[in-house]
C-alpha cells in the first residue's frame, strides 16, 4: 500500500512541473516592460537596468523559473498587483471557504444521489424510478445561478430560515458557518446529486444482472446483504470516479455560486484576478487548485484500491 502511494506521488511530479512551467509563462504574456509600468514613462535607462537587475529580469528564463519555483515551494507566491497584499495570505483566506463548500456540497450530493440511484435501479421502470430519473435529469440541467436564486427566495426571503449570503470561517463559529454555507451547498449539491443518481442507477443496473449477484441470492443471502455487500461494492468504482471528478471541479471554485452568496472562495479569486490583470493572484490560485486536484486523484486511486484489492496486486 505504501509503495503504491509512493509510486503515485512520484507520478504526480512531472505533472506538477509542467503545470508550474505553464503558470510561470503567464508572466511572459504581460504586455510591455514591467520596469516601465513600475518606474513610469520618464525613468532613466540606468534606473530601469538597475531595477531589472534587482528583480532578476536580466537573467535567462530557466533561471528566472527556478527562482520563482523556489519561492513558490517556500510559500511565497508574490504580491497582488492590485493592492500589494501577499498572494499567500489571500489563499489562506480563500482555500478554507472553497474547501468547506466543496465538502458540504459533495456530502449532500452523495447522501441524496447514491441511495436514490440504488432505489431507482432496484425498482427499474417503476413510477419511483421514472420520477427519480426525471428529477435527477432536471437537477443536472438546472443552471446554478437560477437554483441559487430560487433557494434564496424560498428559504431566506419567504421562510426566513437561513441567511441569504455571507461567510464566517468554520473555526471561528461552526454553527453560523454551517448555516451560511447551507444554501450554497444545497445549490451545488442538488446539481451534483442528479449526476451521481444517474451514475449510481446505471452502474447498479449492470451489476444487478451479474452472475455473482445471482450467486449471492442462491446462497440464501438476504436482499439487503445481496445489494449492499455484493452488488453495491462492485457498482462503486464508476460512482467514485464521478464523485472524484466533481469534487475536483468544486475545488476549482464554483465562481457563480460563490459570487451569489458572497463567499470569498478560489473561484471568485480567479475571476477577479483575471478581470484585474492581477497575474500573481491568478498564478497562486491556479497552482493551489491544480495541486489539490492532483492530490484528490491520489485519494480516489487509494479508494479504488480499497474497493477492489486487485488494483494493488
Amino acid at each position: 500500500m505504501i509503495r503504491y502511494i509512493a509510486s503515485r506521488l512520484m507520478q504526480m511530479l512531472p505533472v506538477l512541473f509542467l503545470v508550474s512551467v505553464a503558470v510561470f509563462s503567464m508572466t511572459l504574456l504581460l504586455p510591455g516592460d514591467p520596469t516601465l509600468s513600475m518606474l513610469g514613462e520618464n525613468a532613466s535607462l540606468a534606473d530601469r537596468v538597475a531595477l531589472r537587475e534587482r528583480l532578476g529580469l536580466d537573467l535567462p528564463l530557466p533561471v528566472q523559473y527556478l527562482r520563482w519555483a523556489q519561492n513558490v515551494v517556500e510559500g511565497d507566491f508574490g504580491r497582488s498587483l492590485r493592492n500589494g497584499e501577499p498572494v499567500s495570505e489571500m489563499l489562506l483566506q480563500r482555500v478554507p471557504a472553497t474547501t468547506q463548500l466543496a465538502i458540504m456540497a459533495i456530502i449532500l450530493a452523495i447522501l441524496i444521489g447514491v441511495p436514490c440511484g440504488i432505489i431507482a435501479a432496484l425498482n427499474r421502470n417503476s413510477f419511483g424510478d421514472v420520477a427519480a430519473t426525471s428529477v435527477g435529469m432536471f437537477a443536472m440541467a438546472m443552471p446554478s445561478f437560477w437554483l441559487a436564486m430560487l433557494l434564496v427566495m424560498m428559504f431566506s426571503i419567504h421562510l426566513r430560515w437561513l441567511p441569504p449570503s455571507g461567510y464566517v470561517p468554520f473555526l471561528r463559529d461552526p454553527m453560523d458557518s454551517l448555516r451560511l454555507m447551507l444554501l450554497p451547498a444545497v445549490t451545488l449539491g442538488t446539481i451534483l446529486a442528479g449526476l451521481i443518481l444517474r451514475q449510481t442507477r446505471t452502474s447498479m443496473l449492470s451489476v444487478l444482472s451479474a452472475d455473482y449477484v445471482r450467486t449471492a441470492r442462491a446462497k440464501g443471502m438476504s436482499e439487503r446483504r445481496t445489494i449492499l455487500r455484493h452488488a453495491l461494492r462492485n457498482a462503486l468504482i464508476p460512482i467514485v470516479t464521478v464523485v472524484g471528478l466533481q469534487m475536483g471541479a468544486l475545488l476549482g471554485g464554483a465562481a457563480i455560486t460563490e459570487s451569489i452568496f458572497s463567499i470569498p472562495g478560489l473561484g471568485q479569486m480567479v475571476v477577479d484576478g483575471i478581470f484585474n490583470r492581477d497575474f500573481p493572484a491568478v498564478q497562486g490560485a491556479i497552482l493551489v487548485i491544480v495541486t489539490s486536484i492532483l492530490f484528490l486523484n491520489l485519494v480516489i486511486d487509494i479508494a479504488y484500491s480499497w474497493i477492489d484489492k486487485r488494483v494493488l496486486r
Binding site: D211, T215, K219, G220, S222, K309
Partner: protein, 367 residues
C-alpha cells in the same frame, strides 16, 4: 454390474434403484412445473409441465440442447428466474425439519431459509459466478456467518474445512485468494464448497463442467460424485450425455420446454424410445465405434423451434425421421409410461422398436 456405453465410460447402468425406493426418500417433487415468459397475449410458455422427483442419494439429470428449458427449470426451483418470468405448478420440498413446503408459493422473505440451507446451487461459469471483489474465504465463510450466526473466526475455520473437502490444496493460504487468482477448476471447487457449506440435502448443478477443459471436467465430476452421499439428492443439468452417463441415476430428456423421455440412465443411453433421445445418443462420438473415414458425425437435422413458432402436434416432428404426416403434425403427444418405469412423449413409440444405440447411429450416419 457396469455397462459399457457410448463415450467409453463405465456407468452403473443397472444399479439405479429409483423404482424400488420408498416415497420417504423424496426430497423435492416438481409437479407440472411451467415457466411463462411475459404476460397477456404475448405470454409464452418456455417450460411446459415438467414433473420430476429428486430423491436422497440419487442424481437426477436434465438433458437437452440449449433453449430446451433445462436451466430455467433449475432456476425456477431456486426462485431465481428474472422478474419477466413466472411459474405455475408446484415445487414441493420436504424440509430437513420434515415439513413440506411449496417453494413456488413461498413469500420472498422466506427464501433465505431455503436457498443455501435446503438447496445449494452450482453454476456454469465459475469466473463470473464468484464475486470478483471478495476473497474466496469471505465468500465461503459468509455462508456460516449468515446462516449459522458464527463469528468471523469460527466461520473462517469452517471455510478452510470446506476447501479441504472439495480438494483444494493449501486451503489455509487459499482463503485469502481472490477468484481471479485461481484456475477455472479451482474456482468451480470454490463454488461447490459454497453450495454445500451449510450441508443442504439438495444440490443443483447447472452445467457445472461445461466451462472447464476436459481433464478438469473429470476431476470436478469426481468431486461432485464424492459429495453424492447418503442423504443428499442432486439435480444435474447438462447438454453433455458423456457427463450425464458418469453421474446420473435417472435422466429426463428435455426438448423445446417439455420432458420428452425419462428413465434410468441405462435405459436412456442403451434403449432410448423417443426419436429425439435416439438422435442425441447417436450424435455422441464413440471411441469404440469409429466413424467410416470421411463420414460426418451424426447430427439431428434442423434446429430447436423458436418460442413464437412452436410446431403444431409433436414439437419434434419437423426434425423427426419417424414423423408421419397427418398424425405427428396434428396430435399433441402426451406422456406415456413404459413397461420399465420410464416415460415417453411420442405418438409412435410402440411402433419404433426400442433400439440400442448402435442401430440408432447407423441410421443416423445413413442420413
Amino acid at each position: 454390474m457396469q455397462t459399457e456405453i457410448s463415450t467409453g465410460v463405465m456407468v452403473p447402468g443397472a444399479t439405479h434403484h429409483a423404482d424400488t425406493r420408498s416415497l420417504d426418500d423424496t426430497i423435492l417433487r416438481l409437479e407440472k412445473l411451467s415457466v411463462h415468459l411475459g404476460a397477456g397475449d404475448h405470454a409464452r410458455t418456455v417450460v411446459d409441465e415438467v414433473s420430476l422427483t429428486i430423491r436422497a442419494g440419487e442424481c437426477t439429470a436434465l438433458v437437452g440442447e440449449s433453449g430446451s428449458g433445462k436451466s430455467l427449470t433449475s432456476l425456477a426451483i431456486m426462485r431465481l428466474l428474472p422478474s419477466s418470468m413466472h411459474v405455475s405448478g408446484s415445487i414441493v420440498l420436504r424440509r430437513q425439519s420434515g415439513a413440506q413446503v411449496n417453494v413456488s408459493s413461498l413469500p420472498r422473505s422466506e427464501l433465505t431459509s431455503i436457498r443455501g440451507l435446503e438447496i445449494g446451487m452450482i453454476f456454469q461459469e465459475p469466473m463470473t459466478s464468484l464475486n470478483p471483489l471478495l476473497t474466496v474465504g469471505e465468500q465461503i465463510s459468509e455462508m456460516f456467518m449468515v446462516h449459522r450466526g458464527e463469528s468471523r473466526q469460527v466461520a473462517k475455520n469452517h471455510a478452510e474445512e470446506m476447501l479441504v473437502r472439495v480438494g483444494i490444496p493449501e486451503a489455509r493460504a487459499r482463503l485469502a485468494a481472490m477468484p481471479h487468482e485461481l484456475s477455472g477448476g479451482m474456482r468451480q471447487r470454490v463454488m461447490i464448497a459454497i453450495a454445500i457449506a451449510c450441508d443442504p440435502r439438495i444440490v443443483i448443478a447447472d452445467e457445472p463442467t461445461t466451462a472447464l477443459d476436459v481433464t478438469i471436467q473429470a476431476q470436478i465430476l469426481e468431486t461432485l460424485r464424492g459429495l453424492q452421499e447418503r442423504s443428499r439428492g442432486m439435480l444435474f443439468v447438462s447438454h453433455d450425455l458423456g457427463v450425464i452417463a458418469e453421474v446420473a441415476d435417472r435422466v429426463h430428456v428435455m426438448y423445446a420446454g417439455q420432458v420428452v423421455e425419462s428413465g434410468s440412465v441405462g435405459a436412456i443411453l442403451l434403449r432410448a424410445r423417443h426419436p429425439y433421445t435416439m438422435g442425441l445418443v447417436a450424435s455422441v462420438p464413440r471411441i469404440d465405434r469409429p466413424q467410416p473415414r470421411g463420414a460426418a458425425l451424426y447430427s439431428i437435422p434442423g434446429r430447436v423451434p423458436e418460442l413464437a413458432r412452436m410446431p403444431a402436434g409433436c414439437r419434434f416432428h419437423p426434425r423427426c425421421a419417424h414423423a408421419r404426416a397427418g398424425l405427428c403434425d396434428r396430435v399433441v403427444p402426451q406422456i406415456e409410461v413404459t413397461e420399465d418405469g420410464g416415460e415417453v412423449r411420442c405418438l409412435r413409440w410402440r411402433e419404433i422398436a426400442p433400439t440400442d444405440t448402435l442401430s440408432a447411429s447407423q441410421r443416423g450416419s445413413a442420413l
